[in-house]
Symmetry: C2
Amino acid sequence: MRGAYQDLILPDVRQMILENDLAGLTAFCGVVHSAMVAEILEELQDEQIWIVLGQADEEVRTEIFEYLSLRHQAELVEKLEPRQLSRLLEGMSADDRVDLLSRIPPTRREESLRLIAQAERNEIRRLLQYDEESTGGIMTTEYASLPADITVREALERLRQQAPDSETIYYVYIVGKDRHLDGFISLRELILAKPEAILQNVMQRDPIRIQASEPQEVAAQTLARYNFIAVPIVDQEDRLVGIVTHDDVLDVVQEAATEDAYLQSAVAPLEDTYEETPLPVILWKRGIWLLFLSVVALMNASVIDHYRLSTSTGQEVSVSTGLASLILLFLPLVMASGGNAGSQSATLFIRMFALQPRTDRSVNGSLVDASLIWRELVIGLCLGGTLAGLDFIVAWGWFQRTINEAATIAITVVTVVTLGTSAGTLLPLTFRRLGMDPAIMSNPLIAAMIDVLGVVLFYEIGLLLLT
Amino acid sequence: MRGAYQDLILPDVRQMILENDLAGLTAFCGVVHSAMVAEILEELQDEQIWIVLGQADEEVRTEIFEYLSLRHQAELVEKLEPRQLSRLLEGMSADDRVDLLSRIPPTRREESLRLIAQAERNEIRRLLQYDEESTGGIMTTEYASLPADITVREALERLRQQAPDSETIYYVYIVGKDRHLDGFISLRELILAKPEAILQNVMQRDPIRIQASEPQEVAAQTLARYNFIAVPIVDQEDRLVGIVTHDDVLDVVQEAATEDAYLQSAVAPLEDTYEETPLPVILWKRGIWLLFLSVVALMNASVIDHYRLSTSTGQEVSVSTGLASLILLFLPLVMASGGNAGSQSATLFIRMFALQPRTDRSVNGSLVDASLIWRELVIGLCLGGTLAGLDFIVAWGWFQRTINEAATIAITVVTVVTLGTSAGTLLPLTFRRLGMDPAIMSNPLIAAMIDVLGVVLFYEIGLLLLT
């Protein structure tokens, strides 16, 4: 993600690192919002990032670090000593550090956990047990809780002393014996209530709660429906174990939408953003489904073949040989390969744009676009090549076609798949440049383009190789 | 949206209405969370809803009403007198009532606005001016603001008196001359600060803000990036005009994801949920794009025709006549029509599920499913019939095919489109029933199924009509 301000501040930060202006870096980290600092750091190399982070106050450092992408966090801590890592983890918030730990190799995780205080370590282990897709997997254990038998004045005093982080103070949960969730009061209600009132007389009883084992989407839907800032999470014995806050839920909704879009277009879910995911991973997550769909399309060709044979005994004898018959048999395969690869690319780009600020059309925008287009071209060639290989073997071995005929199919497929991924990239990019929604009709439009191109190329390549 | 509890409470509510148990209804509205009451009301008829709402306290009544879907709200107020409507509007929150007013016919809107106090009316008119897609269009004007020169103690005292609604109290904006946005302080910081401190010494200066004219997505991205509960919205002169809160942003993200999914599958954006949208609107919003894509596919057939003619002078003379040639020419059209209609259905159902709580697999789940499947079948037949009509005319008039050949194409298209929409409905439903993600590969899988079915049907119908 690139904001316009990055282009303004980034050179200054680079200059400060170069000139070893440590005071300047400390000031930079202290004054600029940690989320912005993190975005600027994303553009630097790991060593440079540590130089900047090293100059920030410890609290600010953790905050900035938490705003970095999970992938980047995991990369950065790779070179840390266990002691440094455990120090960093101690400062992090409960949910963020568990996310990070789940990305670290088990032996390294154990090494650094061993250096963390017993109570906190148990806490971490407990959170690590929850399924990543459950509400337990996104909840935080930093919430404000109070007993029911104190006055409002005492409650406010205790909150001041606990001084929990940011949003988590706005809802206060009232817990009884065994941390059983008895009630709930918002900070607003606390402030409006009479100071001498007893909490159990002003609290809301029986608050809406979610089981830690329920899927994340339930938390998202609950917060969306009731407009809560946070919702309490309980275990099977109805004991309070954490809360899920509005910002986590926003991530859940975005991730769910991305995952659905990917799944619908036959891309296996990615752990990171499309830009951040390495090429081999992308090739695998896209290629495996394209191969599967090609097998389906080849079975389809068998069906056509069956009909071709059964009708060829009638009036259409000559159809069973030559270019036209080849096209009749394999055109659906060609169209499906190109269309599927194209809609994969389009979906990946559309979701990438949806997760990016619109203000990102920065000075370097065109450069970023260019590198992505090139990468997509390489991906298209690799995927197309793989599918072409499969098609060649099946056409030659199973359908008993000549080498030249099998080559015609293979060359058409690799061309059409490459064109499909290019169209899937360029169409959303162009719509976006024109200020339109990049999603407009991309899938059917790409399919239609590929249909026309598929026919033309199939004929032309066939005429070249077979006559 | 149906929660499991609806099936438990709904019969009781119906009974109370039947027995005219007004005290029971008042208690029901007062005790149950307004969001839940609203969900139960969604299942009742308009008259019944007014009976229940009539028994609720005025404040609770407005709250329940605000939780109803916008479409339902607009329907309900249709029968209200201007005086009643203006009374209701006065109680509603600033952003919700503007949304409702934008759905009411202008003359009726004016009638009821005339009965609202001058100041509030001006406020409403001002909000109505903002583009629905801008941050101004989703902001609320209910926020807490204070001058910079008062003490923390005074600030807390004033907040107690203003006692603004729910979440809006958690961030306090500090405004100077002309409502210029000077700073910001969270309720948490206010409570932690020394009571005698002056606000301007403890507030955060230069808070992150958004222009009212910027698109909604900017607010969503800002809240997601910084984990804010709310973000201030300013006009061009940097004067505070409103705030956008976390719950509005969650809606924006969901709507944006839905719109992208629709656009990508060539469905024009719907104002309401798919279930709530009337049949003619759906037919128009899906049909117009399917027709456009059919025209593209027919142009594609022209391209194939060109190649067919140019090669028919060579070795493949007999290809230019008969069933095989018809299939070669129009198979891409058949496949595209079925595939596109199917992926429309799949996308609409997948998004519908994404916006629904998972716990909705209630007792009546299967009944709801059945009615939706029937509706989708009707939609498929209507869309297929329309496309078939176009294809028949073009095949007969433009491609100079015989009536029987044109009929073969038309019958194949209507069958394949109906099968496509059915597959697009049943596939996500089945995956969901199996506890899997309903989105899995729906588009390519449906396309592949339609490819096979298209070939088989085209041949079989052709053999029936042409031999």
